[in-house]
Amino acid sequence: MIVHLPILQVIIPLMAAPLCLLLTRPRLAWLFSLIASGLAFLISGMLLQQVMTSGTIIYEMGGWEAPWGIEYRIDQLNALLLLIISALSTIVLFAAETSIHKEIPADKHTLFYVLYLLSLAAMLGIVATGDAFNVFVFLEISSLSAYALIALGQDRRALWASYQYLIMGTIGATFILIGIGLMYQMTGTLNMYDLSIRLPEVAQTRTVFTAFAFVIVGICLKLAMFPLHLWLPNAYAYAPSIVTAFFAATATKVAIYLLIRFTFSVFGLSFSFTHLPLQLLFVTLGLVGVFVASTAAIYQTNVKHLFAYSSIAQIGYMIVGFSISTAAGLTATLLHLFNHALMKGALFLALGAVMYRIGSTQLSNFQGLGRQMPVTMAAIVIGGLSLIGVPLTVGFVSKWYLVLAVIENGWWPVAVLILAGSLLAIVYVWRIVEVAYFKPALAGTETIQEAPLSFLIPVWTLVIANIYFGIDTRLSVQVAQAASQSLFGVSP
């Protein structure tokens, strides 16, 4: 079965989704999804190991070789992403049963798991595939399930957020579709590897330039890159907590992956960064994004909103690392990808626990939580420290690499701005700390207890991962370096 790992990675959660629908008992569906997601996690681990030892894995669907059929092409980059997605999904899912109990009407629990699995499978599919059109198809599966999941939120604003996301997402997807069409038009192929070989021949044409523009804009819409981020905060804030935790940890990562894949692999470095003022554009947008979103985060009254804006800011960091367009910069971006998934997973899941106990994530309701839910709040504090980039947390590791990469490139002012950006993180994290620890509990909230174990275990798993990977960075750094070097064509 080892040769079939790439397809099993996607197909297990994908097939599990309809099976899940057949299970009418929500609890059973939960267990089943957990097992499916856990299997995917296991497979992704094996895949990563296999890729690291023996290089790129190619799997041809239906036995048809590449440009004619669809192939899965797993290199270090995808393998890392697959691992991130399936790991986070499994951990988040662990808490799902408890969480949705409070947030979603009982008759929709099974549906929730079906959609969750679909969304997981689709993200894995986007990452694993080596075919541009297949990306589009799976992108749509993931988007559709995301719209539905977000709309399951309790607040009516969830509906509106989901609708806005739908419009933006569909425009983005259609842009990508146009871009793929133009590429196809010029090369006659849809396979990414094949494209990367055939595109340079026609690189000077205006059509390819347009194709590139459309693909990038489309991806940036999905990515919620500043200034195309407007859909994200509401979507994250009003979705059910589990959904937020899952998406915050994974969805934007997939979009970053696509961005990297298309600019570095498909169009190639020389095209993406020499023909266009992309570098300047992305650095500027990335940094402005960091500052605008962090500042916005400071003024939020809902903690979910706050961290949603913080996500946009963190995306800005990734974009900066990406735009340096050196192996070091890309390593930094990939590391931050991994690390940010851990941070935001932990934070949003902890918020889910808060939501479970007090039914709200308004900052004013956090008063006194430091005493009432000490374990959960400790997790939020550690996650927040990681976001700031305090040493011994993963946030520090990514910041270190990012600043080093920027300095290597001689962009001193950018380095200063990156660090200044994390000062804003201190402010918004500390607002929560002050409210939770230094304000007396609200009247009538004496009965609030610590979150149940089904929350604490996954939350603390992630928190410990935050610290562990902040201290023992061998695994994450090694993989990130291998991935970025493979994209630059240097064998590690």
């Binding site: 749509e140 559709l144 609708y163 419009i167 425009i171 259609t174 196809y184």
Partner: protein
Amino acid sequence: MFIGLYNYWVVIVLMMVGFYIVIAHGNLIKKIVGLSIFQTSVFIFYISMAKVDGGSAPILADEINQYSNPLPQVLILTAIVVGIATTALALALAVRIKEAYGSIEEDEIQKQDNLD
């Protein structure tokens, strides 16, 4: 040049009409209609690429030796399905929004959101 490309240009104009409706209109249903037009136009764009002068539909028969390209057609078959799936979901959302807010106008919804 003009003759060779005008077909695409017409399609692009159609696309942009759809796109404009999506971003400029405040009515949720109208937006969905715009999206639908936008997508359908992209489909037309793909299908136009597939056409070969003098070719015929890609169903093998003995007396024909020039076929149009089947691949874009396959892609568009898939894309159409994606389109209707999106439309269905969007409409469902619109219906729920109407129930929740009592309106399907963007500005009115925003106004209500700002209130609470």
